[in-house]
Amino acid sequence: MVAEEGRKLYLKIDATDRMKQLMTEYYIDAKGAEGTDRPICWITSGGPVEFLIAMDVIPIYPENHGAMCGASKMGVQLAEVAEGLGFSGDLCSYARLDIGSAITHGGPIGGLPRPDFLLCCNNICGTVQKWYEELARYFEVPMFLMDTPFIHKTTYEHATEYVRKQCLELVAFLEEQTGREFSLERFAEVAMLSVEGIELWKEVLKTAEHRPSPLTCFDAFIHMALIVTLRGTPEVVEYYRLLKGEMEKRIENGISAVPEEKHRLIWDNIPIWFEMRNLGQLFARNNTCLVADTYTTAWAIDIKIDDPLTSMADAYTGIYLNISIDLMFEKLLALIERFSADGVVMHSNRSCKPYSLGQYDLARMVTERTGKPVLMIEADMTDSRAYSEAQVRDRVEAFIESFP
């Protein structure tokens, strides 16, 4: 039964204001650093940002900016700029709109500050390498590539060593670029703050195990911004403590994110940024809470303080997009179980090949093992031209109607 119209389908999280403030300060500070002696490095979302923070380099995430452009519904106009230059419409839309924004300074914040160098980690996909090579040519700046071997079944010592050695090369690269000396002491301090932030972020996500859940994955998609961009700083630790407190208070007071939570689902893949609000309301109206996702948990990595370099090498190699379908399946199963989910919603994301390839197999495996249904919706994370609202609404409602 569809929830009555006119009821409040979305409950604002108070901490959001603080997050917006932190993100605004971050971007203002970063933009102000352009052309000064404070170095700016563009980094991929799965990259080891701790090294940058420890060297007082300002990290800039084109993917986070891509999400912002998508959420502001500016993705298409920026992507068109890149397409006009000859980049294929089949290329990742983050890459297309980032290239478009770099050239036109378009987007909600007037483009990103110019990079002094680039850090590209291919643990999330192979596209980032070519994309960052384009950026390196365009801005005429050096690029560091961190290569993380794909994990088919298990990690091997030599693979860990291969990545750990690259961490050392990265240190040398950063020292050369910044003219500063790397301090292991400072790095350990940053790693510790990073771990603290990550642990708190995990605890925030864990509150959704409660029935009814105090937050939805749509909330998590918004509140992940800081763990992605600024982990390793004290502000992030302070922020997630605040957010966790608010979620715990919701549980104490019996407040749920979805007014009448009846069904619980897991989300797979990157959010459809331009459609988040509508989708959130669509599910809420149908008394369904998306309690967890495979995306925001990607930043819930393990770093061990006693050996940060080795554990970081393992953590950055082992993220969700760099592992085989069998390993993804294990993680997905664990989420379904831990969050008592009734099924899974998979976003077949036209942009993100490593995330979307194999989803049909995953879906079949989930249903075979758990008997739980999986819904597939076709879209794109920021390119709204690859999205049909009416079709998706139909599928979502039919899916929920089929629940007992």
């Binding site: 079709q391 139909d394 039919a398 109607e401 089929s402």
Partner: protein
């Protein structure tokens, strides 16, 4: 107790009025550009045929793409659930429903109780839908309703490799330019649709019996091509286009009685 189901699709709007399990009246009109009005008109037509007024109807359930914009209906249910329900009522043994409508193609796995077990839909692309056939009919300058019969005469169907409506259209135009027989081109188009729907059907995966609903089921060429691909015979109900509205009416009956 009298109830109604209204199915406002992308192409046509349908209504079914039922009284204690019996169909009293049905209607079918083109949706046009104002789907809300189309639903209203379809209902009014069916009411007139039944000699009833809106006040006589205990509950109206809307389905189809236009369901959300109606203000005269009591409840809204997706056409996936409704087609399963409608198809189950005319063929209780059906476990798979292939619904090819105006802008959507769906394959629905149905349980013994007529409930949806699983479903697969086409992606954003309109290949294999009624709209696809319309475009092809226009390119070939033949009547949509004649396509099925025409294609049955073909002995060597032309190869239409693309399932994208736009690409397939230009392929069809190329075949015309090459002087290929119309019947062979139409048969080729039907095979292309069958191939696409086949891929969706095995993904569900399908169980017998298979029933086909929606406007495209009226095209005997597509039905035969699909039967060949699936290696099974399809049940085509008398009024395939009305299965959604019928399902909506049955759901209205269940809910009004509950």
């Amino acid at each position: 107790m009298t109830v109604a189901g209204v199915d406002i699709g992308s192409n046509t709007a349908k209504a079914v009025i039922m009284d204690n399990g019996d169909i009293l009246a049905t209607s079918l009109i083109m949706t046009g550009h104002q789907s809300r009005l189309a639903g209203r008109r379809a209902l009014d037509l069916a009411l007139r045929e039944a000699g009833l007024e809106e006040g006589d109807i205990a509950l109206i359930v809307a389905t189809g793409y236009g369901r959300l914009t109606t203000d005269f209906t009591d409840q809204k249910v997706t056409e996936i659930t409704c087609h399963a329900k409608g198809a189950h009522s005319v063929q209780p043994e059906a476990r798979t429903v292939i619904d090819l409508g105006g802008q959507d193609s769906k394959v629905i796995a149905v349980g013994e109780n007529g409930k949806v077990v699983d479903f697969v839909m086409n992606d954003k692309c309109a290949a294999g839908t009624g709209r696809f056939l319309e475009v092809m009919a226009a390119a070939l300058e033949i009547e949509l309703d004649n396509m099925g019969e025409v294609s049955l005469e073909s002995e060597s169907p032309a190869s239409i490799s693309s399932v994208c409506t736009v690409f397939a259209e230009s392929e069809v135009v190329s075949r015309v330019a090459e002087g290929t027989n119309k019947m062979d081109i139409v048969a080729g188009i039907h095979q292309a649709i069958a191939s696409r729907i086949y891929a969706m059907t095995v993904r569900v995966p399908f169980k017998e019996k298979v029933i086909m609903t929606g406007g495209v089921a009226r095209n005997i060429g597509v039905v035969r091509a699909l039967e060949k691909r699936l290696e099974t015979s399809l049940v085509v109900p008398e009024m395939p286009q009305h299965m959604g509205a019928l399902g909506a009416a049955i759901i209205a009956e269940e809910r009004a009685g509950a």
